[in-house]
Every structure is written in C-alpha cells, then in structure tokens.
Point group: C2
Chain length 453, copies 2
C-alpha cells in the first residue's frame, strides 16, 4: 500500500492522453492520499480538471490531503461560491491553513459565502499569526468536566457530531474553561463507567500558549513525544488542540525554508511555480553578491601594480576565494542548523568559534601547502617561482581562516539580534568571504613580492 | 510549561559552580525532557556527572529523551555492566536506536550483560538496517484476534505488563500473525463489551514493509496523518509498530543530513563534537574545491596574454565566478529539496531545466548590465572602457546561465543514477561553475578585446 505511493500509474500521463473515461476509472482505485500526492505535482489547470472528474464527496477529502500552498492555489482560482462549498466540508484547521495563503480580497469573497457560524469561527482563527500555535490549532477537541463520569464521556464520544475525526485524549476543563488535566482513551477504556474523571485524570498537562511560535510548538511536541498538544491562553483556558500531523508539516516546512534561505533561493518551494515570482525572490538575494563583487573589483583595482608584475597571481584568485567560500559555508551551515535544532547553547559559543577557526586554520594550512605547491609548478617560468607558491599557500590559509571566522560569527550575531540566522549563509557569507580573502591575498602578494601598493 | 524549555536555569552553569547540592535540588524540579534537552548540549564528562546525580529510577527515562547520538556516547563510556543495567529499563526501540550507534566490540560486551530474552529480541532488531522500517520499529504493540470481544481487549489493556506506554490502536491479526484490520481505542470505548472485534474493525490498514526506507516511512506517515504505522513482512505478518514520534526524529535527522551534505560539512551534527572527526569529514569535501581550483588556475594560465594587456579583467573575476556560484547554488538547492519532499515528478523535468536556465539567463542579463556598467566606470582610464564593460556584462550573463544549467542538471543526473543528490551541491557545483564561468569569461575577453590566445 505505501509503496503504491511510488509506483502508481501517473494521473498526469492519463490526462495528457486525454482518455478521460479511463482516468475517471483509475481515480476510483486510488485513495485520497494517492490522488492528493499526485495533484501536488501538477499545474493548477490540471489540478482543477482532475478535481472536476472526482465525485463531489471526494473533492474535499482530497484537498485536505494536498499541500496547503497547492490547495490554496486551487481555491484562489475557483469561483467564490464553489470554493466556499468545497471548504465547508473540510476540517476547520485545514481551512484556516489554506485560507491563510489567499489574498485578502478573495478571502473576503469566500468568507461571505461560507455558512454563518462557521465563518465567524474562521475569522477568529485567521486573526492569529499563521506561524503561531493559534494559527495551526484546531478549535475542536473533546473535553470533560472533573465531576463527569467515564460513562458521561463515553456517551459524548458516541455522538460523532462536531467531534474531530481522531480522538486520543480527553481534556479536563473547569467550568471557566481552565485546563486542569488530561485523560487518555486507554485510561477511559480500562476504568469502570461510574468512576469520576477527576480521580483518573493526569493533572500534569504539557500545553503551549496561543502565541507560541510554531517552531517552539514543534520542539515541545517532538521532545515530549506527544500526539497532540492543547493550546491555552494566559489564564490557562483551553482554546484548541494541535495534532502531531500539523507539527510534522511544520517541521518539514521549516527545514525547507531554512535550506532555501541558506541558498538565497527564496522561502517557498511553491514559489518555484511562477517564473516572475521566482525571479523576484532570487533577484533580491543576488543583490548582496553583485554588490559585494563590485566592491571587490573596486578594491582590487588598487592592486593593479602587483597584477601587472605577476599576472599569474590572477590564476589563483578563484581557488583562494573558492576555498574560503566553501569553508565559510561549512561553518555557517553547522551554526545555522545547530541553532535550528537547539544543538547550540549560549554558554558554549566561545568554544564553538575557537573550534571552527581552528578547523579553518588547520584545513587552510594543509590545502595551502598543496595548492601552493601547484602554484610553484605553474609559475615555473617566473624568476622566483617559490615566492608565488608562498603567496598562494599563505593566501589560501588566510582566506580559509578568515572564512571560518566570518561563517561562524555572522549567524551567531544575527541570532543574538533576533534576525533569522538562515539568511546569513549563502550570498552574504560567500560574498564577504570572497572580498576579505582576496584582499588579504593581494596584500600578502604586495608584501612578499615586494611590490609597493 | 513548554516555555520552560527555554528559560530554565542552566545545569551547565550550576555544574561549573561546583555546588552539587544545589544542582541536585534543581534537578528534582525538572522533568525528564527538560533534563535531557540540556544534557544534549553538554560534553560527555558533564553528561555522565549529571546522570550520576540523578536517582537510579530517573536515569533511564532521561536517557530515553536524549538525542540518540548523545545517549550512545554516554553508553559507550560507561562500564558494560552499568550500561546494560541502564538499558534494561529503556523501551526496546530506544535501546536499538542507541545500540545501533555503538561500535561492534563494545556492543557485544553490553549485549552479553543484558537480560537473556531481552538480548535475543535486541539482536533480532539490530539485524535490520537502521535506516529501514525494521530498524526504527518497536516489537511491542497491542493485538487482538478477530473473534475477540471488546471486553477481551479491554481486559488485556488493563494489564500494563509488556504493553507499550501509549496505545492508540489495537491491531487485528489472524492466528498466523497476518494483519487484517485495525480498531481505534475510540471505537473500542464506544462499543458494547460483547461485540466482536471483527465487526467493528476497519479492514483497510496502511502498513509499511520491514525493509522500507525510513524516508518512505516518514512520507507515508505524514501523508496519511498517522500516529503509528504497523510494519509487516512479505506475507503481511505484523512484526512491529512505528510511532509518529520516531518518524518526527527521522524527518529532523534527514533534513539536517541534507543541509550538512549540501554544504559539504559531513552528515551529522554530532560529528561536530570531535575535532579530528570534523577535520576528516570536511577535508574530503574540500578536495573537490581544491582540485577544481587548481584546474582553474592551470586553464587560466593560457590566458596570460589577455591579463597582461588588460589587468582590469582580473578585478572582475570574483564577481563573474561569484554570481555564477550563487545562482548555481540556488538552482541545485531547489532541485535537491524538491526531490527530497517529492515535489518534482519525472515527466516535468524538462520544464524545470528550461525554467531554471531561463531564470539564470534573465537574472544574468539584468546583473550583467549592472555589473558591466560598473566595469565601464572602473576601467575609465583604459583606451576603450566600453569593451571591458561588454566583456564583464556578457561574462556575468554567460556564467550565470551556465551555472543555472549545471546546478539544475547535476542533482537530477545523480538522482537518476541512484546517488544521493544532496552531495551534488556545495563544493561540486560551485567549483565546476567557477571553472566553466571563468573560462567562458576569458574566452569572451580574448574575442571581444581582440587578443590572440
């Protein structure tokens, strides 16, 4: 069954063939997840065409299993009435996640057409920042009063109306709504009907507050191995529940975001869909590289004497800059990821910086010697080839040591000032490392080759 | 409570102060997760010192909440008797995950000292590849026969002995062990005691086979929003259960691995612990950069005439190579991450390559004009500064277009040949892009400046 996710016949190919009867028959053999995971990879026109081939009752379940960005693209393209009808059948937390990705104008149109009480609830949820616990929670959960009996709660569970589709825990709240305990279904099932919930509940509940950042929520859920975490306000009143599957989505999303940001390639894979959106996202990031490179060109212009004397210096610029860029990237990646998974602690930062710079210097010496030796060989027809070798060797070592320092400290400094450290890597680090490394290389050259600057 | 994870007093600081009485008192106020998440960030000596301050009964629960690498480091340092005693109190799947990270010699020593039946079971589990479903599953789960009644199963749940600590589903197996259905605790609690399981079970069960790769398991669990997935053999006999919290660990681990590999910084954050291990891991990756850089130097040596005529060409080498490196990194990151989260489908690859190359060429033209203009200005004292400007402009555009092509195709090609595409990025792409970009830049220079090569 799961392998099926990989070896299914391709909906895309069937659609391209144009054999709609066969396609419709094939779709009946797929489950919702199988259809959704194929739809995620298609263009919006194809997605809408395939949803249209499904019976009404299957459309909402399929949408619920798609990536939220993909579902949002579809909803934005549908007529507001049609979108509202589809969304009415989805679980509230999925609707919020989808609508949170739609522009305000379209959103108002759709909300106006959604069932009244439902719409009020949605507006309340949409008011929370989408990256906080409030933004990813679902307002439906099973609660019990401390004086309820097991039989009372079981009776409530028998009426599926208004309950979430999956229930693993019952949350015990006072009349004020204050969360005071939790009771697993296992505890419920193994106790007699007339036992009071108060007597079997567990009074320690791990909860998160409604404005907790979603990354912290993910941390808490994965550290405490939870399948659901209740969301409370400042007075500990329970407002909603976050399911572990939403947390899994958060973890994947944040990892993707971090990776793309580090490479300066925007924040969302979904953006990769529109050419102009990608152009805009990536254009901004390349500014740093273009600006830094131009600064480098202007600074290097001061060394034209050295270059005129020993043009071979230029041949080794790429390797001096490249080795620095690579080691700077290694250091900053280790720091950025270490910060993201909570691997780094503030009081051990000095050790980390020293270690990274030590690694940079050690690797710099090793590679400096190797690359310097090749410079000696390339410059064999110069008057004093060993001087070129020395300049290149020390240039590499210096550039790599500097790069390790810049690569380690930049994300740490950004993190200290509350800026996302992932944006530090990529363009910024590689560019500043290029400039610094090459300037130190040419400075070394002027000194060691005895050329006045 | 969760916020507490961030604002707790530091165990490390208390240990450094040497006030063990106060430290021991503080530890009693922490829960296992809070202690474990702080221990994860300390050195092995400190970890062992703090575990020693905890009462015996708390040591295993704390270890169970630590990162597996960190726990494995501790276990490897303890005397085998002590390690075996600690491991005897841990859930079996955690023990397997920890022991899988210990060298074979030490492992045999520990296994010999673990309780007999337990040790047999462990050896069986350790035989599975640690990156497959078998390697991360737990062999304990609650099962029922189809002819059992609800009362039978409830009775079994009342005896906690040998059952996992959390139960959300009961798996229905035939006498042969074949998995034929699943029944949630909610269904159990809402049905009468004498109802047969056969009549209330859900016959469709999403399961994974024992040799399924852990990344595919993570895919299945997150796509189907499961809290646990049963593991079966080829005959559909149920062998174990994978909990969603293990899947969360897998997702985090794989994301970290991908990020580090892309930057050529090894595969594990934990390796960052030993200086010599880091040196070895990173040394290998830099080889590509050093080798490529040397090739670049040798190839560029052919262009010494051009450099001798127009030394200003050298000033713009960093920006030509850097712009290419950055855009190559963007393209390959989008491809690597897209492949990792299943966003890319084979039949749409041609479109992807065309789009990325189109983006590279568009961004190349924009930045080529900007950087070319600055070259015109820097080269103002040359005889024909507009020629330098043209060379730089076309050099940037060419280098960026080439880089987008190489950055997109390299990971796709590796993936096609079954090699992990994450290793394609970083050193390999940036280096080949440097070499290709600069060669095309100097070739352009020779042609446009009319210098014979």
């Amino acid at each position: 069954m799961p392998e099926a996710l990989r070896i299914l016949p391709s909906i895309h190919a069937l659609l391209a063939d144009g054999d709609l009867r066969r396609l419709r028959r094939t779709l009946t053999r797929f489950d919702e997840v199988q259809i959704a995971s194929q739809l995620d990879n298609l263009g919006p026109d194809e997605q809408i065409a395939i949803l249209g081939l499904l019976p009404m009752t299957r459309r909402a379940p399929v949408m619920a299993r798609m990536r939220y960005e993909a579902a949002a693209h579809i909803v934005a393209r549908l007529a507001p009435e049609e979108a509202a009808r589809l969304l009415d059948d989805l679980p509230v937390d999925d609707v919020v996640d989808i609508l949170g990705r739609i522009d305000d104008h379209k959103l108002a149109d759709i909300l106006a057409r959604i069932d009244r009480p439902h719409a009020k609830e949605l507006e309340g949820l949409l008011a929370y920042d989408e990256h906080t616990a409030g933004g990813i929670m679902s307002p439906t959960f099973v609660s019990a009063a401390p004086e309820d009996t097991v039989a009372d709660v079981v009776h409530r569970l028998q009426n599926a109306e208004g309950l979430p589709s999956r229930v693993f825990y019952v949350y015990v709240v006072e009349a004020t709504g204050k969360l005071i305990g939790v009771c697993s279904l296992r505890t419920l099932v193994t106790n007699r009907p007339l036992v009071h919930i108060r007597d079997i509940m567990q009074p320690e509940v791990v909860s998160v507050s409604v404005d907790t950042d979603q990354e912290v929520v993910a941390d808490v859920v994965s550290r405490y191995d939870l399948v659901a975490v209740p969301v409370v306000d400042a007075a500990n009143v329970m407002l909603g529940l976050i399911d572990v599957d939403d947390v899994v989505d958060v973890i994947r999303e944040e990892a993707t975001e971090d990776i793309l940001k580090m490479a300066g390639a925007g924040e969302e894979l979904a953006e990769a869909r529109s050419f102009s959106a990608s152009l805009r996202a990536r254009w901004r990031w390349l500014m740093a590289a273009a600006f830094g490179g131009t600064i480098a060109a202007i600074s290097l212009a001061g060394f034209d004497d050295a270059l005129a004397h020993v043009p071979a210096l230029a041949f080794f610029m790429p390797v001096v800059a490249g080795m620095g860029g690579n080691i700077g990237m290694q250091s900053s990646t280790i720091v950025v990821r270490g910060l993201a998974v909570g691997f780094l602690e503030a009081q051990r930062l000095r050790r980390l910086v020293l270690r990274e710079v030590g690694l940079g210097a050690s690797l710099g010496l090793i590679y400096g010697v190797l690359i310097g030796a090749s410079a000696f060989w390339v410059g064999a027809d110069l008057r004093e080839p060993w001087r070129l070798g020395l300049v290149v060797a020390f240039g590499c070592a210096g550039s790599m040591t500097l790069a390790a320092f810049v690569g380690t400290c930049t994300p740490l400094a950004l993190d200290r000032f509350g800026v996302d450290p992932a944006i530090a890597t990529g363009p910024f680090v590689t560019t500043s490392v290029d400039v610094l490394g090459l300037l130190s290389y040419f400075w070394l050259a002027s000194v060691l080759l005895g050329i006045g600057v």
